[in-house]
Symmetry: C2
Subunit: 384 residues, 2 copies
Amino acid sequence: MRVLILGGDGYLGWPTAMRLAARGDDVMVVDNYLRRTLARETGSEPLLTTLDLAVRSETFAAITGRSLRVEIGDCADRAFMDRVFADFQPEAVVHYAEQPSAPYSMMGYEQARLTLHNNIGTTFNVIWSVMQHVPDAHIVKLGTMGEYGTPNIDIEEGWIDIEHKGRSDRFLFPRQGGSLYHTTKILDTDLLWFYVRTHNLRVTDLMQGPVYGMSTREADCDQRLAPHFHYDDIFGTVLNRFLVQAVAGIPLTVYGSGEQTRGFLNLEDTLQCVELSLRSPARPGELRILNQFTERFSVRQLAERVCDVGNRIGLEVSVAPIQNPRKEREDHYYNPANRALLDLGLEPHYLTDDVLAGLLERVRPHRDAIDTRRIKPRVRWAER
Amino acid sequence: MRVLILGGDGYLGWPTAMRLAARGDDVMVVDNYLRRTLARETGSEPLLTTLDLAVRSETFAAITGRSLRVEIGDCADRAFMDRVFADFQPEAVVHYAEQPSAPYSMMGYEQARLTLHNNIGTTFNVIWSVMQHVPDAHIVKLGTMGEYGTPNIDIEEGWIDIEHKGRSDRFLFPRQGGSLYHTTKILDTDLLWFYVRTHNLRVTDLMQGPVYGMSTREADCDQRLAPHFHYDDIFGTVLNRFLVQAVAGIPLTVYGSGEQTRGFLNLEDTLQCVELSLRSPARPGELRILNQFTERFSVRQLAERVCDVGNRIGLEVSVAPIQNPRKEREDHYYNPANRALLDLGLEPHYLTDDVLAGLLERVRPHRDAIDTRRIKPRVRWAER
């Protein structure tokens, strides 16, 4: 299958590209290194320097004999996307090409503007490029569980049947994001749903929880193939941050009470989910929404797990709740469904103590590379 | 009250400006004439030439002794908006500054891109300009009843209590628009709701049905003060189109079965609704959503009414259903609430036969100005 991966330099994009190429797909990756630029501008470089896509794809080819095509450019640039689609004629498009940080989107006007226009702009161009070049192609879009927020009812997979005053209909599940970043993902879903209805597009929108880990089958072949690993307050996901804090001997920064609960998954499982979605595509005119996580934890539970396991393997780990820089409910009901991907064949890698220890051991050799200035929250959700 | 009217050249913006100024408010109108540009580009000029804002505001001042401030510029341009807000320090902002045509948004990529980026861009700048300059100002935003689409349940005013598996919560009412234009209004609501929650903005989002008429107290003082009146398939609302077709002796172009039902209102009532909203503002942290229409008609009913009344006053009117250029449900349940504005004091001007006859008589003298090429649908919702 010819698969176009937009945002192929990313934490998820690059491992996805390697996985699909290793499985025999014809893969093209596209990126404009926006996340690298923003990380540099905010003093949030990842733990280890990652090579550029050209060098990494050459390395990957040299090791595996599988080649990847690389195009550097902006998915919000229509002329560039036209050239890519006309040239590659993808059968599937995996769309990761978005500004991925909630705190970044809350820094100020310019960061909010960039997040809004980039994320809506790339999604809009993906839609139109598919409509005009490859209308039967399957779009796999990365959304976020954060689109749902923390409602007081069970979270279904994208859709809900509502009965109201004796009548009923089926609707998109209500959504309410906790940052502008999350809100742009809601707008993406609205846009996709409109064009799915009017133009019979085939779309899978993956509502993903926070991802952790840096290990995948392909990345583990060679240090140079590792995905970037952010541990800062802006681009780092919560468990990855805790792992680095544990290794650095910094108390784990739990925001507020830590009772905030989310659905998490291992990087390996993101790859499985995306691949399963590609192998069983959405039908024409279908917006298929799948909730993509394997386990639920509160932030406090995660911190305590890291603390326990870290101390057992000889690190000195403690937990230090700090004032929550975000505006979010800390004590809330949370019961999201995640049956659909299991039914498609997902075999979860759960966060066992052994897995946690492995993650910590993987970070440990890089202790000296940790910059402790980029761990405490530098962005606050503005109050009025 | 200092009221900033964005999109003050528009069908609703200009009459609103005159109404508020006549009532003693300090009014500034802003526009970049985008709708005029798009109307010219698509061969969709209004029935009568309207003077530019500078000349109209001078005319208005000469007649009434009330002056209006005029600024020409783009609300999606941040520097311009900064200057306007810093200078005028509005206590309320009425936001009409959007590309207003559903068919225009469905013409092709460039028109869709312009609609998306303009409408989201202006709303985003309104939000940030208010946050940074006048955080207590009340934003009155024009949405559309089309955000709700035609669900199989009663349409409430913006919010719905959902009970699901024994638990309940309150959510934005589900929305699903029939064009990209309508979808951008959904995105606007999502954006506003996010910043209302995080920054305690005060917002009234008016979900308005199709408006008809060209007469208002102020506009009727002098022909030169009339709002523009579109009768074409792109910028004309359905009843205004029918009025012109009736006068021109062209059979009324009912799209499909004509069973599509909507909530309509007289231009005079739009002015009342906006004014009532301004006089009873939303609270800080409140997104107040009001459904703004006074009567429900199917398109077929409207055509038959125009036909009956037109023939009675000596016009030769007939109805000619044509293939529906839109993708929409023609036979659907429709029961939207509209209690809130009545409770605020709205006194509806209903579409009586006398009112209809008056509308037709008002168009009649301009029969020779009607360009019959701009009446049949020139835009089709693309099929795949």
